[in-house]
Symmetry: C2
């Protein structure tokens, strides 16, 4: 059943994005739905990829108010287009840590701007982001940026980070994902994690965007949009349902 | 991994209670942990059973501020002890709908009382409850009572209700529970739903309380406390983990 409406969930609830940090690389998956009102369902990208082959690759995944996330991405893109070494941008930061700090500061600034406009209407707007990638000479890293601009980082102990409607898809990740998980298993894990979320929350929706950044590749190794009629995703989803039901039957009471 | 701390989750997050309404009866499961601070973990019952064999059986499961839930139960018990037909109590209500209304009104009254005391400290306290049971001559019913005292009811289309940390344990229920599910499968489903929650949120804790009310039995048909060292629960949990991992491996990428 869909969730009964609960107060205080905010607009984070209509997104699910997940990133895995593995020895072999990073696997990222996002949904694309931004508003699940009955007659107002829109599809917007929530995954943004920035590449300068052999130098850096950066991915940003977003959850939350579209007014905030679009403005953050617009400012980040503006800084790239300015191409001025005095103005920090995703393409001139020296390290991934600087990238995370730049995204955090931009998110925090935009959130303050947007909230000051909305305060008179006592509405709250916020957004959070995943930032992933690698800079030449550095290691591959994955961060979660909070609405306030501070952030945490994935590690060997915590090889995945999620934003948005993260709980339905967490049990499967807890059981199967470790740092030494292969990229192929990791893609399977994020897709099944998303599948559980799609089943339990009608406001998270297809199509999906998936990206893989292999360690030291310094580029997007694979990217794929999965449409609602994707045969492969549907077959995987059905096979997983069958397997779960069979497993359930096999458990002794 | 345990969840990173997120703002706004409130104290609802440290409980998981679930109730299934099936053709064959009702299956209820709750955890017992009320505070998961590092050195302040307490075990309090969250499931309360009221029986008058051949007349009625009522179960109440609670999530939220202990100061609220204990006071609500104290007032409900006081009314029973008063044994005055002019004072509505769980034991003299004519129907389960009246029971749900009585619990809702008491919860709403207590919440207003407690909040007025706490307002000076700008803290928020709230609680929600599951109310289940059957009154002689009526049908077996399951309600979820919101902090404001209003409620929703389980039905054929929505055969289960949850309070507290409900999301981790929802995917398994969505896949295997229907009105015609047997009580034995239902017990397995709520235990596996709880198992997923225990794995993903460290602040939901053992022991567990489980109760079964068979349709038209007008009594608690089965009740059981499951301790942390319960061999049966541990074996079921391990078997489910193995089955999920095997299923995961079998899915083609």
């Amino acid at each position: 059943m869909p969730d009964p409406i609960r107060a205080g969930e905010g607009d984070h609830a209509v997104t699910y994005c997940v990133g895995l940090l593995l020895d072999a690389g990073i696997v990222l998956l996002s949904d694309t739905r931004t508003n699940a009102g009955l007659d107002n369902i829109a599809v917007y990208r929530k995954m943004f990829l920035f590449e300068k082959p052999d130098d850096r690759v950066v991915a940003i995944l977003t959850a939350g108010s579209l007014s905030i996330t679009q403005t953050v991405l617009a400012r980040l893109n503006e800084a790239i287009e300015l191409d001025d070494d005095e103005v920090p941008s995703l393409m001139n930061c020296d390290t991934m840590l600087e990238v995370a700090e730049l995204v955090g500061k931009t998110l925090s600034d935009v959130t303050v701007d947007v909230r000051s406009k909305m305060e008179r209407m006592s509405q709250k707007a916020s957004a959070s982001m995943l930032v992933a990638g690698q800079r030449k000479g550095g290691v591959i890293r994955l961060f979660l940026i909070y609405p306030e601009g501070n952030f945490i980082e994935a590690s060997n102990d915590t090889p995945y980070l999620q934003i948005g409607e993260h709980k339905y898809g967490k049990p499967i990740l807890d059981r199967v994902v470790q740092s030494n998980t292969s990229l192929s298993d990791a893609k399977k894990a994020v897709l099944l994690s998303m599948d559980s979320t799609l089943r339990s929350n009608l406001s998270v929706g297809m199509p999906l965007d998936m990206a893989v950044i292999e360690t030291d590749a310094l580029k997007v190794s694979e990217k794929r949009r999965i449409e609602p009629d994707d045969d492969h995703f549907r077959a995987m989803s059905a096979a997983w349902s069958d397997a779960l039901r069979r497993s359930f039957e096999d458990i002794e009471v």
